[in-house]
Structure formats: C-alpha cells, structure tokens
Symmetry: C2
DNA sequence: CGGCGCTTTGACACGAGTCAAACCAAGTGG
DNA sequence: CCACTTGGTTTGACTCGTGTCAAAGCGCCG
C-alpha cells in the first residue's frame, strides 16, 4: 500500500539523478516533522511569507490563486509524492494558496533546512530543479488547455493527466481511479462554470468516454478519450535518470 | 543601452543570492559562446531533445506550444536577461518551441556545462532555481488570466506585465515601451483570435487607457489600466537577496 | 426531520470566434 | 519609378460556446 513519504518523493527524484547514500540520508532528514491537516483549511496562504514547504504523503491538495472578484483559479492538483509550496519559500511572498481537498498527511520542510540541504548536496538541488521543471511542464500544459482547447477537450485532458500521474504512484490505472474532487473543483481548475462542467461531464458520459461519478473516475473508452483530448503524456517525463 | 549578457543575467541572480567572486566567474564562463539568430527560425524545437539552453542578450523571443490543429499557444515572452530553455535541457525532450521575434543575440549554454556549474557552486543552482520559480510565477499568472479574465483584462494585464519586466532591465517605464509584437503574437499568447485582439486594442485605445501602435506601447492612463487589469506586480519579486 | 453540500436541468444572454473583404505600408523586381 | 506582392491591421455580419440565473433533486449527517 504505501506511499510512504520518503518512498514516493525519493523515488521521484531518483528518476532524475541516481541518489547516493548521503543524499538519501539528507533527504530523509527533511521529512522528520510529519503533520496532518483537515480538508478545506489552507496550509499556505496567498500573500503571506511562509517559512515552510511540504512533501505530500497522503491525500489530495490543490494550489490556487483567488481573484478580487471572488472567483478562483486552481493552478494544479497535487497527489502523494508531490512537493508543495517550493515557490512560496523561494520567493519573498507566496503568490498562491494551498488547500487540502481531503484530510492529508505531509512532512513540513523549513526553508533553512531545504537551503542547507541544497548547499550540502548539490545534486539534490539539481534533482529538485528537475522536479520543479516537471511540475512547471504540467502547469504549461494546463495553460495551453485554457488557451486553446474547448470545454470537453480540457475536461478529458485533465482527467487523463490525473489518471497518468496517479498511475505513477500506484493509485490508478487505465481503467480509472478514485477522485475526491467536486465539480466545483473541476470548474475552478478548467476555467469553466460549475454548471457547464456538469453539462460536459454528462456529454462525455453519454458518449461512453469517461464517467465521473460518486468519487470515482472510470475510463469507458481510453483510446478514444486520448484522441479527443489529444493527450500526450510525454511532458510527465518518466524516463530513467539523466544524471548518474 | 547596456544589457550586456552577463550584466543582465548576473544582476538578476544577484537579486536572490549575493554572488561570490567564484560564482561570478563560473557564471561568466557560461556565456562564452555568443550566437545570433534571425527572427522566425526556432532556436529550440518542440519535441526534440536539445543539448543547449540560452541566456538572452538582446531582442525578444517567445516560447510556445503548437497544437495538432495548427493553432499555437504562446507560453511566455522573454526579454534580455532571461534564461531560455531550462526545461528543455532538464527534461528528456523539449515540450515547447522557442522562436525569436526579432533578430536576437544569445549565449549558448550546454547541458553539461550547466550541470557542472551547479555541482561546483551549489548556491548558483539555488539561484537558478529561484529564477525558474520567478518565471513559473509569471506562467501561473498567465494561466489565471486565461482561466478567469475576459479579453480586455487579459490584454491590459499582459501589456502591463511586459512593461514592468522591461522597466527592470531599463527598456521601458510607466509611460510606455517599444514592442516588436504583432497582433497575431498577442492573440496566440492571450488565447484569442487576431480579429478579437484588434477589437480589444481599439476599445482600450478609445477609452484612452493604452495605445498599441507602430511597434510602440503607450500607457495613456497607467493607474486606470492597473485597476482594470487588477495588476499586482508582486509576483515579479524584485526585492533584495534572501540568501547572503 | 431538517438542513446543507453537491449535482442536475432548462431558458436566456452575451462574449468571442469565424468568414469575408478592404486597406495600408514596406519591400521587390521589371 | 511604378506595378505587384506580402504581412499586418481594420471593420462588418453572423454564429455558437459558455456564462448566468433560477429551481429542483438528492444524499448524508446531525
């Protein structure tokens, strides 16, 4: 079962650099402070200067930016093994909020500890830079979706991306996965209204492509869905280490 | 004038870490291979594995992702002092293309040289990580715009952001700046059609907010434009070094 | 039993896309 | 020096995807 903190995160970094014993050790020291958070209460607040980042161990969170008019845009969802709030410790002030979608478990990483770790083991810094690039690639793909895809393509793409990411940590496969998101979450992520999200989901269901219902996503016709969304998982970059 | 390669980039990194003589030296070695490129011919091709990144010295470029249906989405514009294609050397394959908008000058940085530099001077790696975070913050802000702002707000925001960034390298101020973009570029960046871009520009001009014409952007009423776009430059993060 | 999130559906309005055509300035070649 | 081309801008008419408003349904928990 699994997804122990160190497992998921170290495994992820290990996909880029072959980590030495020392590096693994430094890494494991980074997640001594385990904490849990309840759903709906932000771990990181938009606009504040935070001292800490987190390595997510279990549960889902979303990072978002809220607008003065009350609407919000979800930047990305994070799942176990993901690093949260790197930008909020590197930049002076956090430009986004981070909210747990369900109850979560995470390891808190203080800014100074992280910077020290980088200074001590440069390859770790490079690995984190790689992981950050991979996350940015996802944000970029999301941006492309908002700019150039219509509602159903966006939805299909998002559901497929989540599926592919979950599959990497053993929480889903080509048949589907458990998904705690509400249609409001999807709306805020896809730049749509909740009402339209519902219409799109119905349409995808009626065309027997995907079913989103009762906290579960079922891929009814994976290949056709991939074609509709023009989904190419290359940007998730899960090939072997580049740096040995 | 100015914007010598090393100047702009080193100055930028210096905003995050106070760079030592050694670090400055390593940095300057990174831009020995100066090259020029003509407008319209990609420096980096989408989907290829590239070995090199670039530090832009003069001119404008855009990074974009093109869709199978022929449309393209511009991710971001880069101006002198910006680092290009970090993702394309860290990830196995470049997920985006990079195209010069005018003739440009840039220093080529080979993957191995960059990784070696990181290994030798960890603080440099941290600084680059910071710069990458700052770039990501811009991409995120762009994403929010596509998801939650209408055409004129998006346009206003983009023109303001470019102005603020150019001001940081001494190429513009609150009165305006020179801008080599066509309305097609704006359309591809803002997720609009070129026709609609034109309508929006006309409207902003008629309301005496900004004028985009003849390769020059003039802010006719900066405060009111900021209000319309809800522009908060905090994410451009240009406060003093955090790491000394 | 009552209430509160979340989902579902319908009717209507509007922002932005598409298509088509004209215009303009800057090159380019005869 | 004048046609001609080409890339970019401008405008109008029409269409359509998505937002908005409103209301009902549904399950779950206190």
């Amino acid at each position: 079962m699994a997804t122990n903190i160190s497992d998921a995160f170290a495994r992820k970094l290990g996909a880029f650099v072959a980590l030495s014993a020392t590096e693994l050790d430094v890494l494991s020291r980074l997640h001594r402070r385990r904490r849990t958070f309840v759903a709906g209460h932000d771990l990181v607040h938009q606009g504040q200067s935070e001292q800490a980042a987190y390595i997510l161990s279990s549960g889902w969170v979303c990072s978002y930016k809220s607008q003065p008019d009350g609407s919000r845009q979800i930047i990305d969802f994070q799942i176990p093994g993901d690093f949260l709030g790197l930008r909020s410790i590197l930049l002076h002030t956090s430009d986004h909020g981070i909210e747990p979608i369900v109850e979560i478990e995470a390891a808190e990483v203080l800014r100074q500890d992280l910077l020290d770790a980088f200074a001590r083991t440069p390859r770790l810094a490079t690995a984190v830079l790689w992981a950050a690039s991979r996350d940015e690639a996802m944000v970029v793909e999301h941006l492309v979706g908002l700019g150039r895809r219509n509602a159903s393509e966006r939805m299909a793409h998002m559901l497929l991306e989540l599926g592919a990411r979950l599959a990497l940590v053993g929480m889903g496969d080509k048949s589907g996965y458990d998904c705690p998101l509400t249609q409001y979450h999807l709306a805020d992520a896809l730049g749509l209204s909740a009402v339209h999200v519902n219409r799109v989901l119905r349409q995808l269901r009626e065309e027997r492509l995907v079913t989103f219902r009762g906290g579960h996503v079922t891929f009814d016709d994976y290949p056709r869905l991939v074609a509709l969304a023009d989904f190419d998982p290359a940007y998730l970059d899960q090939m072997g280490p580049m740096l040995r």
